[in-house]
């Protein structure tokens, strides 16, 4: 029995220790951000590998999610004779929830895991250590540009996801199921509020971008420098990111839309 409590205590302590280390690491990243802004070229190359390379995945997924939403929504709404609301349903689901959440989950799988693996391997091959000995701070040179690139790319990707999804819903709803084109857009415009829906969706995606990139760079930097350690860290990035995204989504939704 005592043994059980001992183990519980030990694992609690180790979780707290990791959280503390991650927070200190995050503070270090924040301190290094000015040095990245002085040299935006570092940021551009990371925007390419973090953002641009996730682009096609986001566009294709967004298109299909929008199409499926329109198809499913149509069958449900037509029971109530409310097919005209299809545009609203597609747009509200995408802008409020699916855009930020699904794009962030995809982003964690595509870019987050790559970030962890890259930084973890740089650590395993002593590249980070080597930089330190060349008096180059790896947090400022390697980690901070990647963090900032993720933070900027995530809302862009989520916005693209929502926009493409709404167009996918348009192809299915208007093109295939024969809903009135004007109705699709005008109902949407009547119901989707810029401040409530679009801005809040954007805030969500910024928060998700922050948490996913934070987890990814931390796991990479904290990885045990062996091939096994890096692979475990990569897995942890995807799993922890997914948990964090869904939990934060619940909290943010409750805060943003709870009282409406």
């Amino acid at each position: 029995m005592l043994n059980y409590f001992q183990r519980l205590g030990a694992s609690t302590l180790s979780v707290l220790e990791r959280l503390g280390r991650a927070s200190i690491f995050f503070a270090n990243i924040l301190l290094s951000i000015p040095s990245v802004l002085i040299r935006p070229r570092l940021l551009f190359s990371q925007m390419y590998s973090v953002g641009v390379l996730s682009f096609s995945l986001i566009v294709i997924s967004g298109l299909f999610v929008g199409m499926v939403l329109a198809l499913q929504g149509f069958y449900t709404l037509s029971d109530f004779g409310a097919e005209g609301m299809l545009g609203v349903m597609v747009a509200a689901s995408l802008v409020r929830e699916l855009g930020p959440v699904v794009a962030a989950l995809l982003f964690a799988g595509r870019a987050g895991s790559a970030l962890t693996a890259e930084i973890g391997l740089m650590k395993a091959t002593e590249q980070l250590s080597g930089m330190e000995m060349m008096a180059v701070d790896p947090v400022a040179r390697i980690v901070a540009p990647r963090f900032l690139a993720g933070l900027i790319s995530m809302p862009i990707l989520a916005t693209i996801f929502s926009a493409v999804g709404i167009m996918g819903g348009y192809f299915i709803g208007v093109g295939l199921l024969g809903i009135d084109e004007g109705g699709y857009w005008s109902q949407m415009q009547a119901k989707i509020d810029f401040n409530i829906d679009i801005i809040n969706g954007l805030i969500k995606s910024v928060v998700f971008g922050w948490v996913v990139t934070w987890i990814a760079v931390f796991e990479g930097h904290d990885a045990i420098p062996t091939s096994d350690g890096v692979s475990r860290a990569t897995t942890r990035t995807v799993v922890h990111s997914a948990f964090a995204i869904l939990a934060l989504d619940f909290i943010l939704t409750a805060l943003m839309f709870g009282d409406i």
């Binding site: 091959t125 008096a135 180059v136």
Partner: protein, 270 residues
């Protein structure tokens, strides 16, 4: 007189203790690294020689004791000063630690670009000079993955000297090299040390190669310095330990067997 002697010592390691987890790695190590000399630190694998270099470079912090590099205590100075000091310290990692996503040229240029505002044409000249010094000017356009292990170490050496440091630390420079590249590296370490009036620290367990170029040798085992002196002095010393290590005898003060309970007892127990 006293001051003169003090000044000729670049690095002073005093009573350094270090442990990783519950394992004690250093148990009071004292060393003096002379300016302008090649100092070798030798000892069996797993005695934390690399750890010692990382302590000297300020990447690891000893639990007790101090390391003084060029007059400043490396674990007490501020982060910024530490980075200033590191610009004067080169380190050659066992793997070379080249940045894998950029070419040989960019690797050697990396510290220059990070720390200076030199025009690109001057960086180019400097990089080619450093690469020429290690004999790899022709390889400037290759990626690190296209280099052999020995070449990667030479590129790393060119990178380590690109900022004209006052000292270079070599971590196991000879491990896993064929005789030719080993010979090249041995010669390079000595030549660079004298030509650039560097101070070199070579961590190694390759006795013959290291003794050929070292001015002074420290033998480390079980977290302590167990012998020191010039290679000749050590070879003539009657320390059992030094004899075992230098001559490569399988059994001696460092036992052949990992510590265990008596053999017979272990066998009859089951």
């Amino acid at each position: 007189m006293n001051e003169l002697i003090e000044d000729s010592i670049l690095i002073k390691v005093r009573d350094v203790h270090f442990s990783r987890g519950s394992k004690l790695i250093f148990d009071g190590v004292d060393m003096d690294i002379q300016r302008g000399k090649v100092t070798a630190i030798m000892g069996p694998s797993g005695t934390g020689k690399t750890t010692l270099l990382k302590i000297i470079g300020g990447q690891l912090r000893p639990s007790q004791g101090s390391v003084e590099v060029d007059g400043s205590n490396i674990h007490a100075i501020r982060h910024k000063e530490l980075y200033q000091l590191r610009k004067k310290m080169g380190m050659l990692f066992q793997s070379g630690a080249l940045l894998t996503d950029i070419t040989v040229f960019d690797n050697v240029a990396f510290p220059l670009r990070e720390h200076t505002n030199l025009p690109e044409s001057m960086i180019r000249s400097l990089v080619l000079m450093k690469l020429q010094a290690v004999g790899l000017r022709g390889a400037f356009n290759l990626m690190p993955s296209e280099l052999s292990g020995g070449m990667a170490r030479r590129v790393a050496l060119a990178r380590a000297i690109s900022l004209d440091p006052m000292m270079i630390m070599y971590d196991e420079p000879f491990t896993g090299q064929d005789p030719i590249s080993m010979g090249v590296l041995v010669q390079l370490i000595r030549l660079l040390n004298d030509a650039l009036s560097l101070t070199s620290i070579v961590v190694s367990h390759d006795v013959r190669e290291t003794c050929a170029i070292a001015d002074f040798v420290y033998l480390v085992s079980d977290g302590k310095v167990v012998g020191s002196g010039t290679p000749e002095e050590l070879a003539e010393s009657d320390s059992e330990w030094a004899q075992q290590f230098l001559l490569g005898m399988p059994d001696g003060p460092v036992p052949f067997h990992y510590s265990a309970k008596p053999y017979v007892q272990d066998l009859i127990e089951h």
